[in-house]
Symmetry: C2
Subunit: 166 residues, 2 copies
DNA sequence: ATTTAACCAAGTAAAACAGTCAGCTAATCG
DNA sequence: CGATTAGCTGACTGTTTTACTTGGTTAAAT
């Protein structure tokens, strides 16, 4: 099993989408700046998220991505699965042919661990995360930083966007 | 976080040691054959296990490795930690400086997951595993296979070892 | 017609994984 | 004693994965 930046990025990006839902499609460029993730890397991750029917895309100006289901019906486990191909702790993908066709000494232990992790992660929906205090605090900080960035780069028109961010 | 062959091998080898405890030190060559793990790879893993004070070594003929504590006082989490440096799901090693010094959107989620996994794995001791029925069945099969191998390779003197294996 | 932003393919540096190879040292046994 | 056993060590190798870049194409809005 592996849980690396890839899976973490995917969940972070999906949560960003959930947090800013309602303002229409969110562009990957926005997510990239808010979350500090490379744009082209996000594109690769979202290709997989789209193939797994977790997001819908809108092309052209003003386009971006939207959750394909309501927040309460998307859990963390399926997001990680989508980019990482399974949160499985066994080496045999649960088949039990770990040691030349037979099951190895510790096979059942890894099965139990996999079940444990999967149960935990699939019990948490994006909606649950959005409601968490620590998430809301970070989101608020990020939105403020993003607004300041826009003021720095462009001269005045950022004030309109600042309002939108609040 | 990563849970790969490395950590699985380490736990499997430690469990093999626990299962055959009492017959004096167990050589890595024995573990290698029973568990189907490369001998020199085992040597690398056991160097780490020894540095982390999980096993003691005896050199010379009839030598091998022994658990450095009783089975009930060695848990799966510390074995994996020893070879893998931590069962941590965060990217910042729990520090919270994931996004350019600040905590990222999903930091607390990964902390929770790490806690969950660690709690599960550290609640299981080698003694617990030895007592499990599925473990005992696999161990019995492996001991029989090993005895048959010895009969195949040497001519007759294996019968003495066969007795020892039962 | 131009801009926006999704989409796609290929390539890359660095790391980790899984394992090999060669040689060393300490202990035992004949 | 000297041969054997088995732990110990370092360096090295092929492969895969990670995280990311480059350089495009296509669809939709202005």
């Amino acid at each position: 099993m592996r849980l690396t930046t890839k899976g973490r990025y995917a969940v972070t990006a999906m949560l960003d989408l959930a947090l800013h839902e309602g303002r229409g499609p969110i562009s990957l460029a926005d997510i990239s700046e808010r979350q500090g993730i490379s744009l082209s890397y996000l594109e690769q991750l979202f290709a997989k998220l789209r193939r797994n029917d977790l997001v819908r895309s809108v092309r052209g100006p003003g386009g971006g991505y939207q959750l394909s289901r309501e927040q309460g019906r998307i859990n963390v486990a399926e997001v990680i699965d989508a980019v990482n191909e399974s949160v499985d702790a066994t080496g045999c993908h649960g088949k039990g042919d770990c040691q030349s066709g037979q099951t190895c000494l510790t096979h059942h232990l890894w099965c139990d661990l996999s079940d444990q992790i999967h149960a935990f992660l699939s019990s948490i929906s994006l909606c649950d995360l959005v409601k968490r205090k620590d998430v809301q605090e970070v989101a608020l900080r990020q939105d403020r930083e993003r607004a300041d960035q826009l003021i720095m780069s462009t001269g005045e028109p950022a004030s309109a966007e600042r309002k939108a961010a609040v």
